[in-house]
């Protein structure tokens, strides 16, 4: 009998070891997140002390005079990200419905799915180049027709490229939610004489809206942090944006541009504080998004 006991204890040990390994890996990711937050917080102390709360509403960013305010960049980040989200949402929901409802199986559907996923794999610098050579001249000719300063680069151009970059994130989640919808709901609607359009607008979209929203939220998170492509297309101007064709700047692109040659304690620390601010903004938007999803589903 002792043999069986030993075997059982061995199994139990294995189970325990396995579970603990999983816990360690899960905790590690949380630890890294906290570590990043604490590092940012400590490194931004000098600027927090020197600039205080004015950092968040000051609209000047003057490295020569050590006068730093993040407001233009906060606005730039929010405007580009939400504009990108607005542009990409009709496309992402349409594509998700198309792939989740109409074209579920078959070679064509597979090709479509893979192509859209592939969009996520293109390095952002390539999006930047493409934007610079293709979109900028197009936007410039549009601006000439509208009679605004024909720079070609600016918030609108950056948002256009961002909307393409974030598309695969919302599509892949929305498509899965739509295709996983229980069949009996749709069948019931059809049996009552509903048309396909009615099923989609009255059954599918209401049933899957929390999933669709989660997909958009994921895409928004990606847009807020995007650096390279935005830097190449936004015009990098330290001004409060005056419209969607105005040049601007985002928090991520200012950090990327200026960090490597930043000298002086307050300057470096102000850039890190901006990183901390971006971190907080992204977290807050995520929390709000989660609450909205909860309310939708309840």
């Amino acid at each position: 009998m002792p043999d069986v006991n030993r075997e059982e204890r061995g199994l139990q040990l294995k189970e325990k070891a396995f579970k603990n390994t999983l816990v360690i890996f899960a905790l590690l990711s949380v630890v890294v997140l906290l570590a990043i937050f604490i590092t940012l917080l400590f490194s931004s102390m000098p600027s927090l002390k020197a600039l205080g709360i004015s950092f968040f509403y000051n609209k000047d960013w003057d490295p020569v005079a050590d006068n730093f305010g993040a407001l233009p960049f906060l606005l730039g980040t929010l405007i580009t990200s939400f504009l990108a989200l607005i542009i990409s949402t009709p496309f992402s929901i349409a594509i998700a419905l198309f792939l989740g409802e109409y074209y579920k199986k078959g070679i064509m559907a597979e090709i479509f799915k893979n192509m859209i996923d592939l969009l996520a794999g293109i390095p952002s610098v390539i999006y930047g180049f493409w934007g610079l050579f293709v979109l900028v001249p197009l936007v410039r000719s549009l601006e000439m027709k509208l009679g605004v300063a024909p720079y070609g680069v600016g918030i609108f151009t950056a948002s256009l490229v961002l909307s393409i970059m974030i598309l695969p994130y919302s599509v892949s989640l929305s498509r899965q939610v739509i295709s996983m919808m229980p069949g009996h709901l749709k069948e019931a609607a059809y049996s009552l004489g509903a048309t396909r359009l009615e099923v989609i607008t009255k059954i599918t979209i209401p049933y899957t809206r929390s999933g669709l929203f989660a997909g958009l939220l994921l895409a928004l998170g990606r847009a807020l942090g995007e650096t390279m492509a935005v830097t190449m297309l936004i015009g990098n101007s330290h001004i409060l944006p005056t419209g969607i064709f105005s040049a601007g700047n985002t928090m991520a692109s200012v950090i990327a541009n200026e960090f490597s040659e930043a000298t002086g304690t307050v300057y470096t620390s102000a850039l890190i504080e901006m990183g901390l601010f971006l971190f907080v903004v992204v977290t807050v938007i995520n929390i709000i998004g989660k609450q909205v999803i909860k309310r939708f589903t309840a």
């Binding site: 630890v31 003057d62 720079y151």
Partner: protein, 359 residues
């Protein structure tokens, strides 16, 4: 309860993680200084002279068999690494400020190695060679002159047909020594510029669009009709960009070239060579020129640095000052004029190890 049980240890772990990071980098730094001669000479700093240095260091390795490891991480990074004593020499485009020198653990000397210049390029129909007086240039970049056919531009460019185009200013978006030299020049010639935005690697630009790197600025200028921007001379020469003739302090209009850049240093140079070469009184000098420097500690005996290592560093810099100069022109850098070489040699002779000069 459960939340508390998990969150507290997590927080402690996270703090440990962050503090560990700091300690690790410090030990790594100490390890590097204590390195043996086998790993060669380490340097870090400015990106602008990198092609020149990498050529000269390569020749040095072939002749003397000593490997030089130079990382072009930017002037700011080079200064920081020298201050932390993780490299044998630093490199910077701008001389170190008094503030930076006072924060360094020991006196540092500046040895110029070659010269660079910043040109003003533009995109106009036919790309004529334009002339700019200092006040016109400053007012364009301050946003006070907004049209190309402004009377102030046309009056210094008689015979050139200038279009009725708005002026679009393009500047660097990344922190850069090029911006530093350009703004240093504008601060010298314009009181309004000096008051704001002033001199620096990144500025609060009154007007214009930012683009990353020389390639970004030149790309934007090439794409936008009516634009004006500034790029390094090396980059402009390689890409055959149109460049304006600028009026120097003596009143002559000078086009940017390697000769006119070297000529800008034909002026009274201070003994420590920490000098801005913008707007010098050299009659045929190009007004937006600048030295680029190698930086070393005046007393080479620090930490556990061996005399061989100290000698090797000084010998390398001596090589750059003399044999190295012949490679400058082909790569688009202006070589040092004779007087500057002599003065740099004086500085190198003042570098000591155990109170004895190394040269």
């Amino acid at each position: 309860m459960y939340l508390k049980k998990i969150l507290l240890p997590l927080f402690i772990l996270a703090v440990l993680f962050t503090s560990c990071g700091g300690n690790n980098s410090q030990t790594a730094a100490n390890g590097k200084t204590a390195g043996t001669d086998k790993e060669g000479i380490m340097g870090a700093g400015a990106t602008f002279p990198y092609p020149f240095y990498s050529k000269v260091f390569d020749v040095y390795f072939k002749e003397k068999g000593i490997k030089v490891n130079y990382q072009s991480i930017g002037s700011g990074g080079g200064i920081k690494q020298l201050q932390n004593k993780t490299v044998d020499f630093g490199a910077s485009d701008a001389p170190m400020s008094d503030d930076e020198l006072s924060k360094s653990p020991a006196p540092i000397v500046h040895i110029p190695t070659c010269l660079g210049a910043v040109i003003v390029s533009y995109n106009l129909p036919g790309n004529p060679v334009l002339k700019f007086t200092p006040d016109v240039l400053a007012d364009i970049f301050l946003g006070k002159i907004t049209k190309w056919n402004d009377q102030r531009i046309t009056s210094v460019n008689p015979g050139v047909q200038l279009p009725d185009l708005p002026v679009s200013v393009v500047h660097r978006s990344d922190g850069s020594g090029t911006t530093y030299i350009f703004s240093d020049y504008l601060s010298k010639i314009s009181a309004a510029w000096k008051a704001k935005p002033g001199t620096g690697k990144s500025l609060d630009w009154p007007v214009g669009l930012g683009a990353k790197g020389n390639e970004g600025v030149s790309g934007m200028v090439k794409q936008t009709p009516g634009s004006i921007g500034y790029v390094e001379l090396v980059y402009a020469l390689q890409n055959k960009m149109p460049a304006a003739q600028l009026q120097n302090k003596a009143g002559n209009f000078v086009s940017a070239s390697l000769q006119s850049t070297s000529a800008a240093a034909n002026t009274g140079l201070p003994a420590d060579m920490r000098v801005s070469l913008t707007n010098t009184d050299a009659p045929d000098g190009y007004p937006i020129s600048s030295f680029t420097y190698l930086l070393i500690y005046k007393n080479q005996q620090y930490d556990d640095r061996t005399e061989t290592k100290a000698k090797g560093t000084v010998d390398l810099i001596n090589f750059v000052l003399h044999d190295g100069q012949q490679y400058a022109k082909a790569l688009g850098y202006a070589p040092l004029p004779a007087e500057a070489v002599n003065k740099a040699e004086e500085i190198l002779k003042s570098v000591t190890y155990a109170d004895k000069p190394l040269e």
